[in-house]
Symmetry: C2
Subunit: 354 residues, 2 copies
């Protein structure tokens, strides 16, 4: 398989390097051939050519089987008056590759349950799969300014169409069939017209195509509450781009170990993009102490979803579990006790692969 690496900024290169070593070890062990090509995205791409997503990166991604991304952004590129920003590369690659579904599993490693800001009895047993719509909604709606001076106003429109809702709901319902068979759709249908369309279409798709999946709807404000006081009640959750941005970030705090959470962005047939949920952590970049496990788990998602290599994905996830069971921790999850560095953690996973 032909894999593209997009290390990006901050700790990106360090963590992607470890995930690559893990993938290489899997290839040897299971007899696959993976080729790797690195390309630029984000701040580094701006530095080198003014464009956070150069055309040659897009072309390479399109021609690949799957993409592994580190992280983009950092204070260096935060100037509000800058012509472009690293995040623009992220939004553009989603749209260019038609990555309409962002999958974020929120799972608790039992060894890390004490890292959660929530009480043990609330968080224990939490296992949610979020599907966030990623190429529509208010993110990509018409926007602009009107008037000037004291009467200036700005607008941006949330738009959803029937096919956009259908495809993400179908994907979510299929995911639910492979899990606990329950799907929750989150919207704001009591206020927003696109949410009313979303709710109608989702109800029809579920009734016609997935009568076996237990389906319910929750308002976005209520969901923001439920995630905190009864997270273990949810199986698969599907929602729009903006609500998904907020709710998945909220949910990612629940396990208390952001450095452990991967995500996948999938389209229709083309290459998927895999990345850790955490950011580029510029404060610790280059120090060799970043936690590579989320990126390694993203590589496992890549094997599972883009290459259909289930046993290989399982092997990586089991190895990560064993590393934790053996008490190995990077600084971010060490809670004050001994920790190891990025490379040592990568090596520890590889050692436990077989």
């Amino acid at each position: 398989a032909n894999l593209v690496l997009l290390p990006g900024d901050g700790i990106g290169p360090e963590i992607v390097a470890q995930a690559r070593l893990v993938l290489e070890s899997v290839a040897t062990q299971f007899g696959h051939e993976f080729s790797f090509a690195s390309h630029q995205i984000g701040g580094i791409a701006i530095d080198n050519g003014g464009d956070p997503l150069p055309q040659e990166t897009i072309d390479a991604c399109r021609a690949s089987d799957a993409i592994l991304l580190g992280a983009v952004g950092g204070p260096k590129w935060d100037d509000p008056s800058a012509k472009t920003r690293p995040e623009a590369g992220l939004l553009k690659i989603r749209k260019e590759l038609g990555l309409f579904a962002n999958l974020r599993p929120i799972k608790l490693f039992k060894e890390l349950v004490d890292a959660s800001p929530l009480k043990r009895e609330i968080i224990e047993g939490t296992d949610i799969l979020f599907l966030r719509e990623l190429t529509g909604g208010i993110y990509f709606g018409p926007s602009g300014r009107e008037g000037s001076g004291a009467t200036e106003s700005a607008f941006q429109s949330m738009v959803y169409s029937v096919p956009e809702v259908e495809r993400i709901v179908r994907l979510a319902a299929k995911a639910a069939q492979g899990r606990d068979g329950r799907l929750t759709s989150v919207d704001k249908a009591n206020v927003l017209e696109p949410s009313r369309l979303w709710r109608q279409v989702a109800a029809r798709v579920m009734a016609e195509e997935f009568p076996d999946v237990k389906y319910d709807v929750v308002l976005v404000d209520a969901m923001a509450m439920h995630l905190i006081n009864r997270p273990k009640d949810f199986d698969v959750v599907v929602t729009g781009n903006m609500f998904g941005d907020i709710l998945t970030d909220e949910a990612s705090m629940l396990p208390g170990s952001l450095g452990m959470l991967p995500s996948a962005s999938l389209g229709d047939g083309g290459p998927g993009l895999y990345e850790p949920i955490h950011g580029s952590a510029p404060d610790i970049a280059g120090k060799g102490i970043a936690n590579p496990l989320a990126t390694i788990l993203a590589a496992a998602m890549l094997l599972r979803h883009s290459l259909n290599l289930t046993a290989e994905a399982d092997a990586i996830e089991a190895a990560v579990g064993r590393v934790l069971a053996d008490g190995l921790r990077t600084a971010d999850i060490a809670r004050g006790s001994d920790s190891i560095g990025t490379e040592a953690m990568g090596a520890a996973v590889i050692q436990r692969l077989s």
Copy 2:
């Protein structure tokens, strides 16, 4: 003062009745005259005339000094094909009275710290005042449908203008001056044009008019995370209508005692509207077990913000504190031990007023 009561649906009438008794007791004790007139809103108003906000309710509210609301809504009016819904009354009264600022204090009663889903060391000391913009943004933007059948789409536009941002930021900054002097503005300026306008206007207002207030900005997705793992870092938080809807509900879960949280919706000069944050709780309506304390604390906010009766507001808040210190609990906050009913709780507050 001329007060309007809008008991509404579910437990609304029970809890508003107790808040009224508390206000009457304050009036006697401090030598004021409060007149009370009850009017209809929400489901009960739909049942009695088809309109969730009858004109006579609007007229009475306009002519009043302040309004105390119970709660609206319930399964009885949840039919998605219904012509109107109780919540429409709520949205309309905000717009009709120009209530552009929703104030939600998120405060922990030290007696109830164990009710929080968060660990004690995370939540203890949390004291945030949210200001949510309430009459603009995507809630009231242009909306509609286009196309039909398989290509139908729906839109609703988020719109913010310079004066809309200025007035809510000014109110928030003034609130910060009366507290710890720190203000956080929450937006999604990396994606949304209205957020970019919001950020520009807020920065200008803060620099020109409030150089003494420590000001920063946070993205809405990051804020959804911070609220969970470092809630005590925030003083006053200001944000738009949609983000405020989600974040204030998220924040309201942190203390773990929704039945204790009041809110105020204020306009420019006209009457303010005060209410508990919790809903109409149809499952316990009429049973006499609802917690009236959030509504009683809303009455205290009414005295403070609309009638400028600070000592009186302080007296109510202190009485509520004493009730808790004395171990009195309604069922929702009793955590399995003995509880008292709605009327007994109201009476207990009144007894401790003097």
